[in-house]
Structures are given as C-alpha cells and as structure tokens.
C-alpha cells in the first residue's frame, strides 16, 4: 500500500535518489538495505512527507505524499535515525507526551506496546538520556507506536545497537507485523535482510534489486566456495593472485571465493594453494547470502 514511482532527489548537485520506483503491500515487512549514504533516509523522509522529491510521485495507503500529507501523518508512526526522544524527560513523560501529540493516551493503546514497554517499565522514571542504547530503541519504538499507526517507518533502528538487542528488536517487528501493521525499515546490516518479507537493495541512490530474500539469493549466478586454511591473511592474497579468481572476500572464518570459469572442480585451486604452503585447507561449495548478492550486484553495477 506504499507506491513510489520515478522518485529523484538531489542535494547540492549530488543525486541522492535516482529514479526510484517500488511498491510495498499492506501488512508487509519491507526492508531497505544499503550502506550509509545510499539514500535510505531521503527515501523514508519522502514517504513520511518530511521532504519533497524533485520529481516522481509517491502515495501511502492511497494518500499522495504531497497533497494529502496531513492525513498521512495521522496514520504513520515514524522513528528517525537518531532516537529522537526528549533526553531530559523521563520514559513515562516521553510516552505520554507523544500519546498526547496524537490525541490519545498511554492507557488507550497499551495493548499494542505492552510487550515492548514492559521491558522498560522498571525504568519509567529515568530520564531518556540516561538509558542504554537498546532501551532507548525500545522507548523510541513505543513512542512511534503509541497512536496505533497503520504504517510504521523506521530509519536505521538497529544502527549502533549490539547484536543481541538487534535480534530482540527484529522479534518485536515480526510481532507488530502479525498485528497487521505495514512496516518499512532501513538498515545497513545485510544479515537483517533475511528477516524481511521483501527487501530493496540500495546503493548510491539506486535500487540494485527488489525481491524476497530467497528470490535475491536465487538470482545469484556465480559458483561460490568457502575456503579456509591455517593462514587466512596469506590465503586471501594468494587466492587474489590465482588466475581463475572472479572475487574473493573475507566472510567470517572463511573466504568466499567464486571462480571466473564457474567450474565446480577445485583440484587446481587446491593444488595451487598447497604449492603456496597452506595447510589444513578446506574448500567446499556454499550457499550465497544477501551480502554475497549485494557485493556481486555492486560490482556488476560498477563494472
């Protein structure tokens, strides 16, 4: 129920978004995945009616972002990049303030935020500025939800938050989705893509691909191997010099390697590495993840 067509915007001659089109269905958990500076924030701000696109049009639940901005604002819950809370007000005061702004009360919509709020309730008298990152995130989410929005827009809610808090946060989003709220979320963390129904991969103001995470992965055309040996630092350099190397990237405890030739037979590579003095060599075919796909798309974009 969010439709954007041919949206472009530029700041000081730099194109922040170039001819972006996409649509999000009602009740979907939709992710915009891309590094900082890709244009995610601009895009979300256009959809929340905070800024105007230079060209193109967009609508949210059939409401035009330019003409009907007042009505969009009534049905949108928005959590900007920085947790925008009043640092000097307590947890409870923040919540009741934002409730009042939307003409409601904490009591009225308590059910919706109960699961989230209950985790920060013990600290309800503490000023928001003194909460930890994970708790601020929960409070900001509660504030964005307090008026029972139809659509929730979250701009990098997990940036700078530790892995565990991030996991918890995504569980909360899943639950909200099950309550029927349409959710748009942006993130620089590629691994979070797999938690969305569909994702748009964004880089330098352009959408590289839009699909379900599985769909994106199934489009990955190269053969991919994970490789390790006892000297990972040297391994990367050596594979880089191998004559059949299309790409080689660090990936956790392995290197992800794909051959130019697309050959699944790795004997030549193994022999090459043994000659270079590597021991305990593991080479096995592996499934690509979103990050592999993203890097592949980035490279074909640049090349």
């Amino acid at each position: 129920m969010v439709v954007a067509s041919h949206i472009s915007i530029s700041y000081k001659k730099v194109n922040a978004l170039k001819d972006i089109s996409f649509s999000v269905n009602e009740g979907e958990l939709f992710g915009f995945i891309g590094p900082d500076g890709a244009g995610k924030t601009s895009l979300l701000r256009i959809l929340t009616t905070l800024i105007l696109a230079d060209s193109g049009s967009a609508s949210v639940f059939g409401l035009d972002v330019v003409k009907d901005y007042k009505n969009i604002r009534k049905i949108t819950g928005y959590m900007p990049g920085r947790f925008s809370l009043y640092q000097d007000l307590s947890v409870e005061e923040n919540l009741s303030f934002f409730a009042a702004v939307f003409g409601t009360t904490l009591k009225e919509n308590y059910d919706l935020i109960k699961d989230i709020y209950i985790q920060i309730e013990p600290f309800k008298d503490r000023p928001a500025g003194k909460l930890s990152g994970g708790m601020k995130q929960k409070l900001a989410l509660s504030c964005a939800l307090i008026h029972k929005p139809k659509i929730l827009v979250l701009d990098e809610p997990t940036t700078g938050v530790d892995a565990v808090s991030r996991k918890e946060f995504w569980q909360m989003l899943k639950k909200l989705k099950n309550d029927g709220i349409t959710i748009l979320v942006s993130t620089p963390y590629m691994d979070e893509a797999e938690l969305c129904d569909r994702v748009a991969l964004i880089q330098k103001g352009e959408i590289l691909d839009i699909d379900t995470p599985m769909g994106i992965i199934s489009k990955y055309k190269n053969v991919l191997f994970e490789i390790s040996s006892d000297n990972m630092y040297k391994l990367k350099g050596d594979i880089g010099k191998f004559n059949d190397t299309l790409s080689v990237f660090l990936f956790g405890q392995f290197l992800h390697f794909s051959p130019k030739s697309g050959r699944k037979d790795t004997d030549v590579l193994k022999k090459y590495l043994e000659e270079k003095g590597h021991k305990n060599i593991i080479i096995r075919e592996c499934k690509p993840n979103i990050e592999d796909c993203f890097m592949d798309l980035m490279q074909s974009e640049n090349g």
Binding site: I51, K70, S84, D88, F102, G103
Partner: protein
C-alpha cells in the same frame, strides 16, 4: 486542546529541568538590574572641582555654594589664573573646572546674560559629559530661581541636556534599558534556542510527522516563555521600585500592556530566528549579534543616540528595543499616557506583524 496543554506542560518541564535555563530566566534579570543599578552607575558623587572666579560677586559665590552643597561636587581649590587649571588637570587633581567671567552678576542683571565656562577632563568622556550636564543643570536651576525672584529675565549661558531625570539617578536610566534587554533576551533567544534544539535532537522530525499543526507547535513553544517573560517584567519593576525607589508615574496598566506587546514582538523575532537557524549554535550566534549587542549599544540604553554618527542613528531606528525604551521612560518617568507613545507602540506592533508574517512564510511543514 488537551494535546496542546500537554505540549505546554512538556515545555515547562524542559525549562524547569535545565539549570542553565533557570539561571538565565531568573538569575539574570536580578543580577543585571543590580549590576547596572549599582556598579555601572553613572551617578556622580564627590567629583573634584576647582573654581576660577574672575568676578567674585554674591552670585558666583552663591552658585559655587550650590554646587558644593549638592553633594555631587567637592571643591578642592580656588584658582587665580587659567594657567593653574591646566596644571591641575594634568596632575589629575580635579575632574572639572568652572570659570565665571568678570562682572558676572552685573552682566546678568544688566544684559540679562552672563557666561560661565565649564571645563572637563575629557580623557574619561562619559564622566566628563555627565559632570558637565550636572553642573549646568544646577546652574540653570539657580538662574531660573534668580530671575523669578528679581523679576529680571536673566540668563546664564551654559550647556544643558538634563531632562525628566531631575534627581539625576543612574538607576532611572538603566532600569528601562535593562528591562528591554532582558525581555529581548529571554523571549527571543530562549525561544529560538528551544525550537532549534528540537531540530537538533531530531524530535522536530517526529513532531512534524505527527498530526500536530505547525501553529500548535509554535504557540506551544512560545506560551511558557511569554508567561515567564511577563513574570520577569513585573519582577524588574518591583526590583526597581523597592531597591532603587523608581516610581511608575504613568498608568501601570498601559505599562504592562506595552510590555506584553514588546514580549510578543521579541517572541515572534525568536521564532523567525529559529526558522532560519538550523542548529542551537547558529541560533545562539544570531541572537547574540542581532539582539544582545544592538540592544546594549544602539538602543539608547547605554549610549545616547543623539551623539552617534548619522548613519548609526539610522541603524538605531531599526532596532525595536529603542522604541520600547522610549515608551517605558515616557510612562515611568514622565508619567505620560498613551497619547504620547502611540507612535512607538505602532512601530513595535509593525515589527511584530512583520516577524510573524516572515516566520509563517519561512516555517516549513517539512524538513529542509
């Protein structure tokens, strides 16, 4: 409406929780009034003078007595020639010398005109100016009284520029100026900072995305500062009255109404500043240079406008506090009513409308 009340409540919380805001709001007015009233006072006391009396008649003696008994001056020497004057000035023994022309009384009665020269140590220009004014005021007083008694229309030639502050008290000059300064500062600077703070914290984004209308946001921001500014205006008046014995000669209701007008003007200026400033720092900077300094320097608060170069005088006319200072001086000291301040009131009103229109024009329902 409930939404709105909640907004105002939140705003008060911000103010009351921030120690700096509280100090600026309540500490500064008191400190300023006391500092300006006592320390930076331009009151004169025991200024050292010498007299060169080339006439030595009963009139010159009487004038000299009047001067010394006023409490402002201390007669340290009687000179015999003009040469001594310069020497005394160089040594720093005196701040002012007074020369009566020969045959002073005779000329006064016969020609209706006598001359007295007042020489000041102008290395301290302000004090010199003030001493000269005091002296000539006392001499003028004497001259009026004398012509009344004798029936003769005599005149003593000396410069004078003392009016409506007959007791020549410093606080009388400073209270109106300080009031203008403080109201300007609190209303304009604090509102512009509090609005830009929301921009900086990112909370403005959330407010804009809410159904709250921009007018509500602005008015909600402004109301607490309006009330606090008004409380401040009253406390300055009370302080002026009880500490410095400064009366309100004119109608009090008019004075308060004018203060409200001025506060509204300053608030709309503050909103205007916040629409052009992106950060607190910029807002602070603009406030400092466009409000604080001009209010101190160009409003006639410390330096008389008449003494400024023509170009600067034009600039002065574009500064709202100047009009407010004229208004309160008129009402408090001269005791005049609305008929004498309608023009200044109109100008302030014009400024208010101008800033509001500009703000509405510039305020965005979206981000930049």
């Amino acid at each position: 409406m409930k939404t709105f009340i909640n907004f105002v409540k939140k705003e008060f919380r911000h103010i009351f929780r921030d120690v700096r805001s509280m100090v600026i709001l309540f500490g500064m007015p008191i400190a300023q009034i006391l500092i300006f009233g006592y320390v930076v006072t331009n009151e004169v006391k025991d200024a050292k003078i010498a007299v060169l009396d080339l006439s030595k008649d009963e009139m010159t003696v009487e004038i000299t007595n009047k001067l010394t008994s006023s409490g402002y001056f201390l007669l340290v020497d009687n000179f015999k020639s003009e040469d001594e004057i310069e020497l005394a000035f160089r040594k720093g023994e005196i701040q002012e010398a007074i020369i009566f022309e020969p045959g002073f009384a005779k000329k006064f009665v016969k020609d209706g005109k006598a001359e007295v020269r007042i020489i000041n140590d102008a290395s301290d220009a302000n004090t010199a100016n003030m001493l000269a004014n005091y002296t000539s005021a006392i001499i003028m007083n004497y001259s009026f009284a004398e012509s009344g008694v004798n029936g003769a229309s005599g005149q003593i030639i000396a410069q004078t520029r003392m009016q409506f502050n007959q007791d020549l008290k410093g606080a009388y000059m400073f209270v109106p100026g300080t009031m203008a300064l403080i109201l300007m500062l609190i209303s304009a600077m604090m509102t512009s900072i509090s609005i830009t703070r929301e921009k900086e914290m990112g909370t403005m984004e959330v407010l804009l995305v809410s159904p709250l209308r921009p007018v509500q946001i602005i008015v909600g921001k402004v109301i607490p500062y309006f009330l606090l500014s008004f409380v401040n205006a009253i406390s300055i008046l009370l302080l002026g009255f009880f500490v410095f014995g400064l009366p309100v000669n004119g109608p009090l209701a008019l004075l308060l109404a004018e203060s409200m007008l001025f506060i509204t003007m300053a608030l709309s200026l503050g909103i205007f500043i916040s629409t052009i400033a992106k950060s607190m720092q910029v807002a602070m900077f603009i406030s400092m240079f466009s409000l604080l300094l001009p209010t101190m320097l160009l409003s006639g608060f410390i330096f008389p406008i008449e003494n400024m170069p023509q170009i600067l005088q034009w600039v002065c006319h574009a500064i709202p506090p100047k009009y407010f200072i004229v208004i309160i001086k008129n009402i408090m000291l001269k005791g005049t009513g609305f008929e004498y301040v309608w023009f200044e009131t109109l100008v302030l009103f014009g400024f208010t409308v101008f800033f509001i229109v500009m703000s509405v024009f510039k305020f965005k329902t979206r981000l930049e």
